[in-house]
Structures are given as structure tokens and as C-alpha cells.
């Protein structure tokens, strides 16, 4: 036997291994695509819920501002006089609505609805409480705005990852480009991405300084970690509380009106 036989065998084994690895990679990319699409849906739902909360917050804030101002006017010289039944009802509605919208605000949690039990609360008490509720609404508004920004960036990142994965899995790509598919450039991916491409998904070749979609990073991390907006080290990303990622309560989210959401998204993109 010549030594070419085992070499041929090695070549064939190598080819088989490479084929198997290719197949495994293909399957992994497919799974990543499914996961990313699911995560995108969840993020869209969170965006919808958060923007709804902001609207509720703004409406209640405006209502409570008007109420506060009127009671403040009426309160002049009425330090120890009880407010009217209507004012108690409205104050309690504001407190109740605020508690529905705002979660995990210890100061709001301490506020309770008025229980007249025959004697309505006096004007200063109503003012103090409504003022506290309004402060909570302001805090909530700021927090929600910041959350919306984060979710939008996460959506952009998810769409970029989906685009990259679709590009990778696209069979219609010409022969010989397979090698490039592991390091797709921005221009490769752009046709596959709905909206803007997220720069945070890309790394840079050290020699050519060209940017490429970093599949290795996607492989190293769970999707939650990957979509996290902590741009520091991967360890930081791993330590990030999943609750902060907006991915923890998809089950609680309301069903989406897709068209409305798309319009909303388009508008949002236009403003950024």
C-alpha cells in the first residue's frame, strides 16, 4: 500500500468533519435566528407597553396637575376644613391610577387612599398626598423614557443580528462567498435589516480596519446577554440583571397591534 491511501482517508475524514461542522453551524445559526426573532417580538411588545405607560403617565400627570392647582387655590384659608366628597373621590382616583401605572416606587407604596369614614381629609393633607403622587409620576416618566431608549437600541441590535443570520443562511449567495459569510460587512447585511444597522454588533479587522458582523461574540453569549445595552466587558454583560433587559415579562405583555406598532416604530426611527 502506498502512503497516499491514509492521506486520502485523512482528507476524506477532514472533509466529512468539515461538512459536519458546517451543518452544525448552519443549525446553530438557524436556532439563533429563531431566538432572535422571538426576542425581537418580545422587545416590540415591551416597547409598546412602555410607550403606553408613558402616555398614561403623562395623562395622569396632567390631570393631577390641574387637580392640585385647583385644590391649592381652594385651600387658601381653609387649613382645617375638610374637602368635598367629589375632591376625595378624585384624589383617591388619582392615587389608585398612579399605583396601577407605577410599580416598585417605595414612596408611592406608602401612600394610601383616603378613608373619609365620615370626615373628609383637610385641604393640606390632600395637597401633600397629591404632590407626592405627582413626584412619583415625574420619576416614572423619566424612568420610562430612558427605558424606551434602551429598548429601541435593543430592537436595532436584534434586527441587525437577524439580518446577519439571514444573510448567513441565505442559500442564494454566490459560490465561494461562504468564507465571507462568517465575517459579513455592514454592506452585506444592510439589505437584510429592517431599519438601521446597529454599530454595536460589529468588530473591526485589525489589518484592514474594515468592520464585520461579529458572529463569535454572538456565539459566546446568550441572546439576553448579547442584546444587553451594557457596552462594557462581556463579564459586565453577563452580570446584567435580565429584568433590566426588558425580556422578563413577555407573558404579561398585552397583545400587539402590529400595524400601530410598525407606524410607531417608523415614527420613532424618523426622529432619531
Amino acid at each position: 500500500m502506498s502512503d497516499t491511501a491514509p492521506r486520502k482517508e485523512n482528507t476524506e475524514a477532514k472533509k466529512a468533519r468539515e461538512k459536519r461542522e458546517q451543518q452544525e453551524l448552519h443549525e446553530r445559526r438557524n436556532q439563533q435566528l429563531l431566538d432572535a426573532q422571538k426576542a425581537l417580538e418580545t422587545l416590540k411588545e415591551h416597547l409598546h407597553n412602555t410607550t403606553s405607560t408613558i402616555k398614561e403617565c403623562e395623562a395622569l400627570s396632567s390631570h393631577s396637575k390641574g387637580f392640585y392647582e385647583e385644590i391649592n387655590k381652594l385651600a387658601k384659608g381653609k387649613v382645617l376644613i375638610g374637602v368635598t366628597d367629589l375632591a376625595v373621590t378624585q384624589a383617591n382616583d388619582i392615587i389608585r391610577d398612579a399605583k396601577k401605572i407605577i410599580k416598585k416606587d417605595v414612596h408611592l407604596d406608602r401612600i394610601k387612599e383616603f378613608v373619609p369614614a365620615g370626615d373628609n381629609p383637610v385641604y393640606p393633607d390632600v395637597l401633600v398626598i397629591i404632590r407626592s403622587v405627582r413626584d412619583s409620576l415625574d420619576r416614572c416618566d423619566e424612568e420610562m423614557e430612558s427605558r424606551v431608549k434602551t429598548i429601541r437600541r435593543q430592537i436595532e441590535k436584534a434586527r441587525t443580528a437577524i439580518g446577519a443570520l439571514e444573510y448567513f443562511l441565505d442559500d442564494e449567495t454566490e459560490e465561494g462567498e461562504d468564507e465571507d459569510k462568517n465575517y459579513p460587512t455592514k454592506s452585506n447585511i444592510e439589505p437584510y435589516v429592517e431599519g438601521s444597522v446597529s454599530d454595536s454588533c460589529f468588530s473591526q479587522f485589525t489589518d484592514t480596519y474594515e468592520k464585520y458582523f461579529d458572529f463569535e461574540r454572538l456565539d459566546r453569549q446568550s441572546l439576553q446577554e448579547y442584546l444587553s445595552m451594557h457596552e462594557g466587558s462581556e463579564r459586565d454583560q453577563a452580570e446584567t440583571n435580565p429584568e433590566d433587559q426588558g425580556l422578563d415579562s413577555a407573558g404579561d405583555a398585552e397583545s400587539l397591534d402590529e400595524d400601530a406598532e410598525e407606524n410607531e416604530h417608523d415614527e420613532e426611527e424618523g426622529t432619531e
Binding site: K112, E113, P116, A117, G118, D119
Partner: protein
């Protein structure tokens, strides 16, 4: 019952006036208050309101007889001798009547005959007679009422004697009992307590319906409606001038004679005044000024009694009675006619005290309207270890009949799991929420101290209720 040595001493010994629902009669002297029918009229208690209607029907039947010209019939109906058995009155004299019955009847008939307007209109309140007859004053209003409502007073007295264990004598003669269905007066024999002085019958009167002056009264009429009338007629100055110039002022009797002449001629004056008083009904409160005992001393006595009752089944009955005394001390006349009940439910003895909430205080008014009932149940649990079963039992008991607010009076502060159970009763009973409040020994002592300092136990209860409602949010 023993005979007290002090002639002013109450007939009932061993119980404070603060702790019972009725006015405790005194020996040898009347308690300086009278029955005010207006307090029946304004009551939320259906029974009391019906009594007022009964009073008016009887009186207006007499007026109708006068109108028909049947004076003997009117004289028979409008026959109101003094009811000495109630021991109430404004003059320093004994319980024995002064024989004013026939005189009063004559005054009423004379007034009616002299006022065709009154015959036509009838009366909305028997107190109006003070404004129309010179000889009829607040004590006569009380007499009229006591006569017509004597059957109620007999039943009330018997009930109170059962509650407080007061001895009753069998077959005590009682005269002049009115039967509303036949409009006849009759005499009878009833089981009633008797005076240790002369052996005559004693009738107890609820504290809730007594006032020093009736809400509708002559003095107030003169100060308000009649003054306005005179002012309108520009007579004040002329009258004053005339008074000083002639005899240095008319006597009160002459003044009243002048007033009733005017009112008989213009019944609309009475009508307007009565309507004004009706609109101020919330301010008409029963008297408590006649209670001349030391409130703080009584609070201390009650605290000592509470400390002496040992927790457990053996002294459950004593505890229930003491709780009734304490609650009467704290809340009467806001919560009235407290009646202890003993019943067995699922083999467990229940000792409740049901009060009628006839209060005008804002908190009790709120309870009456928010928790659907004129009754408030207090359940006396003489235990240091109130359990979940007792809470369930109380929750089951609250409802349409006795309302949806109940108070468990027990010896110790509740354990956390029991308090949580009370919260769950509230949460699970929507939309008709049931509220169970609790009062421990420590809280009762705090309330007794408040009452001693002349502060309001009702305000404390309001705050207690608020704490519950805010905790359960």
C-alpha cells in the same frame, strides 16, 4: 334592690348612669329632663319613628273629635295625667303626680276650640302645643308622650330589667295605658320594678329620647320666629316703650298669653318655626347634663372590673355584661339600646351585643350608610387567644340583618395570622365588604381614659377604622 339612704340617690344601685341605656330614676326627686318626641321623630330606628307616628295619630284623633264638635270624645282621648312612674320632671317634687291630668286636658281642648286653624291643620309635632297654649310647657309635652307611649315604656323597662338583672314585681297595677288600635285607655297589671319608697311602678325611659327642653320649645320660638315676626311688624320698639312706661314689664304668663293669641290666629308662624327646627334635626341631641357622676371615677371602676374578670368560658357572661357597660359608657347615646344575645353556633357559644346606631356623629353616620345597617354588632370573646374560627364565625354573621361592620371585643392584641384573616374577610367579601374591627383590653382602657378626659371615643373608633381600611389597601 336596696333602699338608698340619700333621697337623691338613684333607685338602681351598683350601676352607673353612664353604663346603662336608660335614665336611672332617683328617690324622692325627678330627674330634670323630659321625653322629647322630636328625638323619636328624627330617629333612624323604625320602631322609634313608628312611636312618633302613633303619638301624632292619637293626638290628631283628639283634634279631629274637637273639629267634629265631639268634645267629650276629645276629652277622653286627650287625657294625659302625669306619668309619675317615669320619674322625670322639671320641678323639685316627688315622683307622685300633681294631678294635672284633667287640667292639661282642659287646656288642650280650650286651645283647640280657640284655634280653628289648628283644628284644620292638626299637629306635626305635639310640642307645637307649647306655642299655642299658655298653660302647656315642656313637662306637659313629656307627659303627653309618656301617656301615649306607655305600652312601649313597659316593654322597654321589662327588657332592661332582664338585661341588668333588676328585680321585677309581678302584677304591678299600671293605669291609663293607650291602645293605638282601639284608641282606648285601659288599666292593667304588669311585671315591673317598683319604688322602694312607695311601692309604685317604675318605668324606665331610654336615654336617647330625653332632653332638658324639647327641641321644639317656646323659648326658642320666641328667640327666633316670633322675634322675626315682631320685627317685621315693627312692634318691638313700641312694646318695649309700653312695657317700661306702664308697669315695668309684663309677667312671663302675660307675655305668653299675648304670644299664643298671635300664634292661634296665624298658625303659619308655628308652621315656619317647626320646619326650621326639622331642618336642624341633626343638632337635636339627647341630654347628658343630668348625669352628675364623676366620669373619671366611673372609668377607673370599669378598668378595675375589667382587670378582675379572668379570661375563659367560666366568666364569659360577666365579661359580656361588663363589655356592655363599657360600651354604654363610651358610646351611649350614639349607640343605643345595647342588647346582649347568647346563641350557639356549631357548638360554640356566641355572646353578642347588638346596638342600634342612631347617632348623628359623622363616623357612625358613615358606618350606617356604608356598611348597610342601623345595627352594630360587638362580639365579646373572653379569650387571650382569638382564633381563625371565631373570625370566620363573625364574618358569617355579618350581613343584611345586622349590617357589615362588626367589632370583636377580646382580651389580647391579635396574632398576625388572625389579623391577616380579618383582611381576607374584607378582600373576599366584595362588593359588599365586611369589616371586622377588634378591641383589646388595652384599647378599652385607652378609650376609658379618653372618655374620662372628655375626649371622643367615637373619634378614636374612626381612626381605628381608618387604620384598618388603609392597612387592607
Amino acid at each position: 334592690m336596696t333602699t338608698p339612704a340619700d333621697p337623691r340617690a338613684p333607685l338602681l344601685v351598683g350601676v352607673s348612669q353612664y353604663d346603662v341605656d336608660f335614665v336611672i330614676p332617683r328617690t324622692g326627686v325627678d330627674v330634670p329632663v323630659g321625653i322629647d318626641p322630636f328625638l323619636l321623630y328624627k330617629s333612624r330606628d323604625t320602631e322609634y319613628r313608628q312611636l312618633h307616628e302613633q303619638l301624632l295619630r292619637a293626638f290628631n284623633a283628639g283634634i279631629a273629635a274637637v273639629k267634629r264638635g265631639h268634645v267629650p270624645e276629645a276629652t277622653r282621648i286627650l287625657d294625659f295625667p302625669e306619668v309619675s312612674a317615669i320619674g322625670l320632671g322639671y320641678t323639685q317634687r316627688s315622683k307622685r303626680g300633681s294631678g294635672v291630668g284633667t287640667h292639661l286636658s282642659g287646656l288642650i281642648i280650650e286651645t283647640l276650640v280657640g284655634s280653628p286653624n289648628l283644628q284644620e291643620r292638626g299637629v306635626r309635632h305635639v310640642e307645637e302645643m307649647q306655642l299655642l297654649s299658655a298653660g302647656i310647657g315642656p313637662d306637659r309635652v313629656s307627659d303627653i308622650t309618656a301617656n301615649i307611649l306607655k305600652r312601649f315604656l313597659i316593654a322597654y323597662t321589662q327588657r332592661q330589667c332582664e338585661i341588668w338583672g333588676l328585680p321585677m314585681k309581678k302584677g304591678v297595677p299600671v293605669e291609663h295605658i293607650y291602645d293605638p288600635s282601639s284608641q282606648q285607655w285601659s288599666d292593667g297589671y304588669e311585671d315591673l320594678p317598683v319604688s322602694p319608697v312607695d311601692g309604685s311602678a317604675i318605668l324606665l325611659v331610654p336615654r336617647r329620647i330625653v332632653r332638658v327642653l324639647p327641641w321644639i320649645n317656646y323659648d326658642d320660638f320666641i328667640r327666633t320666629e316670633f322675634r322675626a315676626y315682631l320685627s317685621a311688624k315693627q312692634q318691638i320698639t313700641r312694646q318695649k316703650t309700653k312695657k317700661s312706661a306702664e308697669q315695668g314689664g309684663q309677667s312671663d304668663a302675660e307675655d305668653k298669653l299675648h304670644v299664643v293669641t298671635v300664634t292661634r290666629g296665624d298658625i303659619s308662624l308655628v308652621e315656619r318655626y317647626v320646619k326650621a327646627r326639622e331642618s336642624q334635626a341633626a343638632e337635636a341631641r339627647p341630654a347628658i347634663d343630668y348625669i352628675d357622676e364623676d366620669a373619671c371615677k366611673e372609668a377607673e371602676v370599669l378598668k378595675e372590673k375589667l382587670a378582675a374578670v379572668q379570661p375563659g368560658r367560666e366568666q364569659a357572661a360577666e365579661y359580656q355584661r361588663l363589655v356592655l357597660e363599657i360600651l354604654n359608657y363610651l358610646f351611649n347615646p350614639e349607640l343605643i339600646d345595647g342588647q346582649p344575645e347568647v346563641r350557639t353556633l356549631d357548638g360554640t357559644e356566641r355572646r353578642d351585643i347588638i346596638f342600634t346606631n342612631d347617632s348623628d356623629e359623622s363616623f357612625w353616620t358613615y358606618v350606617r350608610s356604608t356598611h348597610d345597617g342601623i345595627l352594630v354588632m360587638f362580639e365579646a370573646k373572653n379569650t387571650n387567644d382569638l382564633g381563625l374560627a371565631e373570625i370566620n364565625q363573625t364574618a358569617t354573621y355579618l350581613g343584611d340583618r345586622i349590617g357589615r361592620l362588626g367589632v370583636i371585643v377580646t382580651r389580647q392584641t391579635l396574632k398576625e395570622n388572625v389579623q391577616r384573616k380579618i383582611f381576607s374577610v374584607w378582600n373576599d367579601s366584595a362588593p359588599n365588604r365586611k369589616v371586622i374591627l377588634t378591641l383589646s383590653d388595652a384599647q378599652l382602657r385607652e378609650l376609658l381614659d379618653l372618655r374620662c378626659r372628655d375626649l371622643s371615643p367615637t373619634k378614636w373608633m374612626q381612626s381605628h377604622y381608618r387604620k384598618f381600611r388603609t392597612s387592607v389597601q
